[in-house]
């Protein structure tokens, strides 16, 4: 019986990446390799102020002294940092006045991704800051947001237009020396998004950014900085898919979120970088540092992530609960298939009094993949009445994949209550047969079952994103049945 079941699952999960296409757009790229000169060149190309160059150089010099840590349950091939292009920007043909003027190839790319950068988005109330490779191509809705005092623009633009804000918050949550990849990013980050919500403002729309790796051999070093001032609210979306590549591509992003008193940030992401082929060849290495500082009292931050892509995922969106009564949430679905490896989870650092955190992690492993949850819950001495609830579930498809859970607890305050629950399940042949008998094909049945399993997390996503994510889960596990 189990043989049969595994056979079905193998067929269904042995699928090809559906977004493997490349857009042919001219690139303005610098030569491969990394040195102080590279860092200076990037900074110069972006016409950055002196302080930012210094910030980069400090990070670079520190990075040289660091080593990659090997604590994660990952088998990471050696990365040749000299064989990476650290800057590439699509060549603008001319200044763009309207959507019609956006490069048709580029528009087509977004269409294929199901991300229409057009009137539909305007109507559905989503402002899109599309990042193609390293430079923002188009920002919509900026005017409307500007009227509310909301800043939502590319990181480079923010450096030029709002240098004081950038200087104040850059590195305030993720220091440039935080870890190996954070230091690398701090040295060579190319572009990304900047978002500032002023005091008392409720951002009326979901802010979204779509990232995409396009030029071959271009490392992506995105930088996102979100600042929610006192009493403000913002829901921020980020999602990406990448074209098929044989060369491994390094992606080392940093996302910093700074939440002031009484403010709330919801950050949702769907990650679908190219995972490599069925033999485990190619695919993106995704080493991301995401962290939120819940600085003020009563602040709130919620991370929701759907991770389906990348050959290797190393990612722990974390929260520092500094303000009293601050609340942090982490909802995660991580899918690994074929030879994918994921080591992902969160860190909840309770510092303030009456702080509360919730962790819901759903891992799905198929093929020969390895999927690990790694989470730290730390309650500092002064964190009276801190509360944490963690739930870590794993689902296995087939018998050649692995699921691992590494919960770490460090509790230094006796009033804290920390709870951890974990389960492991398998998709049963009986469940698939039940669906088949009602007429539902095996691929759809697995999609249905997996989406049901991940519902608690998917429900956290904004509506239209949830629909996209559901499709993505199914696509990620789909294969060559019948």
């Amino acid at each position: 019986m189990s043989n049969d079941q595994d056979k079905i699952l193998e067929e269904v999960t042995g699928s090809d990446y559906k977004y493997g296409f490349v857009t042919d757009i001219e690139n303005d790229a610098i030569a491969k390799g990394l040195s102080e000169d590279t860092v200076r060149l990037i900074s110069e190309k972006k016409k950055e102020p002196e302080w930012l160059l210094e910030y980069r150089l400090n990070a670079y010099r520190h990075w040289l002294t660091m080593e990659q840590k090997e604590w994660a349950h990952l088998d990471i091939p050696e990365i040749d940092f000299q064989n990476i292009i650290y800057y590439s920007a699509p060549k603008p043909k001319k200044e763009l006045a309207s959507m019609d003027e956006v490069d048709p190839d580029l528009r087509e790319t977004f269409e294929k991704l199901g991300i229409p950068l057009d009137e539909q988005k305007l109507l559905s109330g989503v402002a899109v800051d599309a990042v193609m490779d390293s430079v923002s191509v188009k920002t919509t809705f900026k005017q409307n947001l500007a009227e509310l005092g909301i800043i939502f623009c590319s990181f480079s633009e923010a450096v030029q237009e709002y240098p004081d804000l950038v200087k104040k918050y850059l590195g305030s949550v993720v220091p440039s020396r935080d870890n190996y990849y954070a230091a690398l990013n701090s040295a060579v980050f190319s572009d990304g998004s900047f978002c500032y919500i002023p005091k008392g403002v409720r951002c009326p729309m979901e802010l979204s950014t779509y990232f995409r790796i396009n030029a071959a051999n271009t490392g992506q070093f995105e930088r996102t900085l979100i600042v929610a001032d006192e009493g403000s609210y913002v829901s921020y979306l980020e999602g990406c898919t990448a074209p098929q590549r044989d060369e491994n591509q390094l992606h080392a992003a940093i996302v910093e979120i700074y939440v002031h008193k009484d403010a709330e940030v919801k950050y949702s992401t769907v990650q679908n970088w190219y995972p490599g082929d069925k033999e485990g060849k190619g695919g993106i290495y995704n080493f991301v540092t995401k962290r939120g500082m819940l600085h003020g009292d009563n602040s709130k931050l919620s991370w929701t992530q759907v991770e389906t892509g990348s050959a290797i995922t190393w990612k722990y969106p974390s929260c520092i609960l500094k303000g009293n009564n601050s609340t942090a949430e982490f909802y995660s679905v991580a899918v690994t298939n074929n030879y994918q490896q994921a080591d992902t989870g969160t860190k909840m650092i309770h510092i303030g009094k009456n702080t509360k955190s919730t962790i819901v992690s759903k891992g799905i492993s198929a093929g020969k993949s390895n999927n690990s949850y790694r989470g730290l819950v730390k309650v500092a001495k002064g964190a009276e009445n801190a509360r944490n609830f963690s739930q870590c579930d794993s689902m296995l498809l087939g018998d050649k994949c692995g699921a691992h859970t590494y919960p770490y607890l460090e509790v230094d305050n006796p009033t804290a209550i920390v709870e951890h629950e974990a389960t492991t399940s398998k998709i049963g042949e009986d469940q698939i047969f039940y669906c088949n008998q009602r007429g539902i094909e095996t691929e759809d049945a697995i999609g249905l079952i997996v989406n049901g399993y991940a519902k608690e997390v998917l429900n956290q996503l904004p509506m239209e994103f949830a629909v996209e994510a559901q499709k993505l889960l199914q696509i990620s596990l789909e294969g060559s049945v019948g």
Binding site: N436, G439, I440, L448, G452, A454
Partner: protein, 248 residues
């Protein structure tokens, strides 16, 4: 509608069905009875196409087609419905979504457009009444946390939704109290018409008080050893199976 000839099937190399012959015509109700382990549920599973069973011999014709050539979902879409003895739980998937996926999958197989939302909800409301299914149940996850009775009623509800031509009900009466039994059986009876057929697998005659069969068959050690009319069920109720077995 259904013609089974000399059907033999194995599981893990062990022969369970040892040459079944059965004819079912539109408009008929057949009851299959027999002691535990005689192969009743296996017969139901094989007809539905469950792959863990290996058909080693014989032929099954359904609506003019070779049934054994069809996949599980093709059989379903062509009107074969299996009421499960142990309905399966699918956590996190609401009955509404599950039914919608099923109805649309079957429509797609038949080359029809997906059902629109309002039409679908109307259909749900209509069919729920047939088995007196609580509205709350359809909002809950498939069979998760359902009582035994609710699960069985939910099976008949799905049967009503999918409007099958051939329904095979595998011990739909097991684990039901007398009220639930009545509701389930009445549901089945309401769904009966001259164009569809029902095969009821049961241990007990009491179900047949509600779902009156045209034919009763006794399955024993993988073979139908006796066929008759509804009176046969009564006789079995009274005398058990021993007298038949002794005759072999």
């Amino acid at each position: 509608m259904l013609s089974i000839k000399n059907l033999k099937a194995n599981i893990n190399g062990k022969e369970i069905l040892k040459g079944i012959n059965l004819e079912v015509k539109a408009g008929e109700v057949h009851a299959i009875m027999g002691p535990n382990g005689s192969g009743k549920s296996t017969l139901a599973s094989v007809l539905a196409g469950r792959e863990i069973f290996e058909v080693t011999d014989g032929h099954v014709e359904y609506m003019g087609e070779d049934l054994l050539e069809l996949s599980v979902e093709e059989r379903a879409s062509k009107g074969i419905f299996l009421g499960f003895q142990y309905p399966v739980e699918i956590p996190g998937v609401s009955m509404v979504n599950f039914m919608k996926a099923a109805v649309n999958a079957q429509r797609k197989h038949r080359g029809e457009e997906p059902i629109n939302a309002s039409e679908f909800l109307k259909l749900m409301r209509e069919k729920k009444d047939i088995v007196e299914l609580d509205s709350k149940l359809t909002g809950r996850s498939v069979n998760e946390g359902f009582s035994g009775g609710e699960k069985k009623r939910n099976e008949i509800f799905q049967m009503a939704m999918l409007e099958p031509k051939l329904s095979i009900l595998d011990e739909t009466d097991s684990g039901l109290d007398i009220d639930a039994l009545r509701i389930v059986a009445n549901g089945v009876t309401k769904l009966k018409n001259k164009d569809n057929a029902t095969v009821v697998i049961t241990h007990y005659q009491r179900l047949l008080d509600y779902i009156v069969p045209d034919f009763v068959h006794v399955l024993y050690k993988g073979k139908i050893i006796k066929s008759g009319t509804k009176e046969l069920a009564l006789e079995l109720e009274e005398k058990g199976y021993d007298w038949l077995i002794k005759d072999l």
